[in-house]
Symmetry: C2
């Protein structure tokens, strides 16, 4: 799968930078239908196909909060995301590699995507310092000095055996990147982030050794449309197998995010998959899908589930609320998940209140099924040319939910 | 199911004490085969039959540590135990009753047994005080004054809708009951416990109102064989639907426990089921089965599982041990549980180390399946007249395990 060929198949040319390895024939991305800028399609990997747009449940430590492979298949998951940083710390990529990579280690034999570890390092690690070579930090586990570089991020992900790996980008918080497109100092800092991320991306491309893993570049640029456009163009020139929008979902307004995604997408090869990292709420996903995004991941369904915040076709249901104490109804009568088929709100409320781990499991199953079903509906809507109607429905439910909790 | 008729069916007679309610025809216990004092049989309840001897997984808060009804059925569970005290505190028996009792509330539609709450009160509550009327204590949740009596224990369990309820007995720690059969002061205290438990048992019988719930009496008597015999005889005279051996599994020696169970069993009607509460290790269960016990419960499989202590056909495996860090083998190659079918030791070790709740779930599935399979093997062995061979095998594995960890 290598942009910018029409079929998405690999196109080895002499002009490729460095000694880069091509993703094998097993990879591919085909757009099957469009509805405005939105598209539905199919991501092919050596471990199976993924209908897109797709949502990737997050398996931080190589497991999705109480669920195993059979559970995830049952609710319609097709691809999982694992956090490179966590698995690098423990058990270490050498152990995972020895046990057959993420697939053999975890028992999920479908496709895996791994992040680069950069986001976790900058959000979790102590004494983080970014220089041109990479990121230095102290492990939050044992305080030991650690280092992550564009090359080591590729090497770790190759050892983990992900189907899709991500380049190491320069991750900075919103305070650094700025929130005001008129902020000249923030713009200067963000331009440096874009330029370093491009240099790191080129190094990552050169570092690849596995033909059975594809690599996605990452677009940066903060809240500055021109920087997003430049970053996308520069990243596309490095001819990655796919592209991610980075540094979003940090609290920026939805309309601004859409604009930033749209301007970058204009520079990205249309036949390559696009991934919006770490987003978000159902209404965020549908608006990004409308802007042409194909892949998503977010901890929201599992994290919110553990706290009793449940997604339903009628809006958010806070099941810890006392009024559900003797409510036998399923979380969402319209839901087809195993939790709603078997259990009522009162039982789930009770389990979460007692911190009985079945509660977290049942909530994860429900919320993930809600997200996966939402993506199924988005694919159907795009194929039928009716994404606008779905978007309006999801936005209306979100407004009603916000009103109800206000 | 009312001892002592040969078939275990109800035998309403004018001589019954008080206004007691008979367990309905739906209940019954039939002994199908014997091997020495051991027997295998069948406990019939309105919610299904239970082949005995049986092990009851403990669903403290109405859930077995991350497992739901489908999981429990898959590993061969036939009856669950719920803790009355915990459910009385939250969500309260009125809520459970409104939602269809334990069956409707939890989604486990097979048989349920509830304890009386007495053991939890004396082990968990603050400022516990026992008088002739019942037990006073302060709730560990909110410090509020609470009271449990033989009558309220029955009423709570009737509201919970258990198939089998337990009488409130006077629960005392080993320090109170004594460990030395020659200790005259401990013997005096224990005699008082036996006598009060008998008075409470008679009150519990009179308090019953539900014909669809059976009630088990509890034998006390500490380490004193004559008191055990007297307690069993007095309890049997109250004509319960089944009988439990209480105050055991508190650290007494296995041989002494067997003697105490055997002497009490001589006074219990042979056609009624016998339950040894809270036991224990696999070798303890098999030795109690040999002494004629039919029902067991214990938190050991789930609690040990969470701590990485796993039962196998070759002895205990401490999966947190560093030597399993890259071990792809299943926990027990001879095990037919879903965990062993899909996952290796290294993955389980990793999950438990990261406190990822899938680890506790997979460990619970494995350890419970080990116990349930052990009971299946015991039933087969009794039917074949070969329980001694199973007992020798289990004892040998236990000795080897103890040697290995020494």
């Amino acid at each position: 799968m290598s942009a910018p060929t029409a079929t998405g198949g690999p196109t080895a040319t002499a002009e490729r930078p460095g000694n880069r390895v091509e993703a094998a024939e097993d990879f591919g991305f085909e757009v099957e239908a469009r509805d405005g800028d939105a598209r539905c399609g199919r991501l092919r990997t050596p471990h199976g196909e993924v209908p897109t747009p797709a949502f990737m449940p997050v398996a931080t430590y190589g497991a999705v909060r109480g669920l195993d492979a059979a559970d995830l298949r049952a609710i319609g998951a097709r691809i999982l995301l694992a956090n490179t940083y966590h698995l690098h710390e423990r058990p270490g990529e050498a152990v995972v590699a020895k046990l057959g990579g993420l697939h053999g280690f975890t028992g999920w034999h479908g496709p895996w995507l791994t992040d680069s570890g950069g986001f976790q390092v900058t959000s979790l690690a102590h004494r983080m310092k970014i220089d041109e070579d990479g990121v230095s930090f102290a492990s939050p586990r044992d305080g030991a000095a650690r280092r992550l570089t564009p090359e080591s991020a590729v090497a770790i992900q190759e050892a983990l055996g992900a189907d899709v790996a991500m380049v190491l980008d320069e991750c900075r918080p919103l305070e650094w990147l700025g929130t005001d497109p008129q902020d000249a100092a923030a713009r200067r800092r963000t331009r440096e982030v874009v330029e370093r991320t491009l240099r790191w991306a080129a190094r990552a491309q050169r570092a690849r050794t596995r033909p059975d893993q594809c690599l996605f570049g990452i677009v940066q640029g903060g809240v500055f449309p021109a920087l997003r456009r430049a970053s996308a163009g520069g990243t596309a020139a490095l001819e990655f197998d796919g592209y991610a929008h980075g540094g979003l979902g940090l609290g920026e307004e939805s309309a601004r995010r859409e604009e930033l995604v749209a301007v970058a997408n204009e520079e990205l090869p249309p036949e390559a998959p696009r991934y919006l990292m770490g987003l978000g709420r159902p209404e965020d996903l549908v608006s990004a899908i409308a802007a042409g995004v194909d892949l998503f991941d977010c901890v929201l369904p599992t994290r919110n589930g553990r706290h009793g915040v449940l997604f339903t076709s009628r809006g958010v249901l806070r099941v810890r609320n006392a009024r559900f104490a003797d409510d036998a109804a399923p979380i969402d009568p319209d839901c087809d998940c195993p939790t709603c088929a078997q259990h009522g709100r009162a039982y789930l409320r009770h389990l979460l209140g007692e911190r009985e781990i079945l509660g977290a499991r049942l909530a994860s199953l429900h919320n993930l099924r809600f997200y996966l079903r939402l993506l199924e509906r988005a694919r159907e809507a795009i194929a039928a040319g009716r994404l606008d109607a779905l978007r309006a429905e999801v936005a209306a439910v979100a407004r009603r939910s916000a009103g109800a909790s206000a």
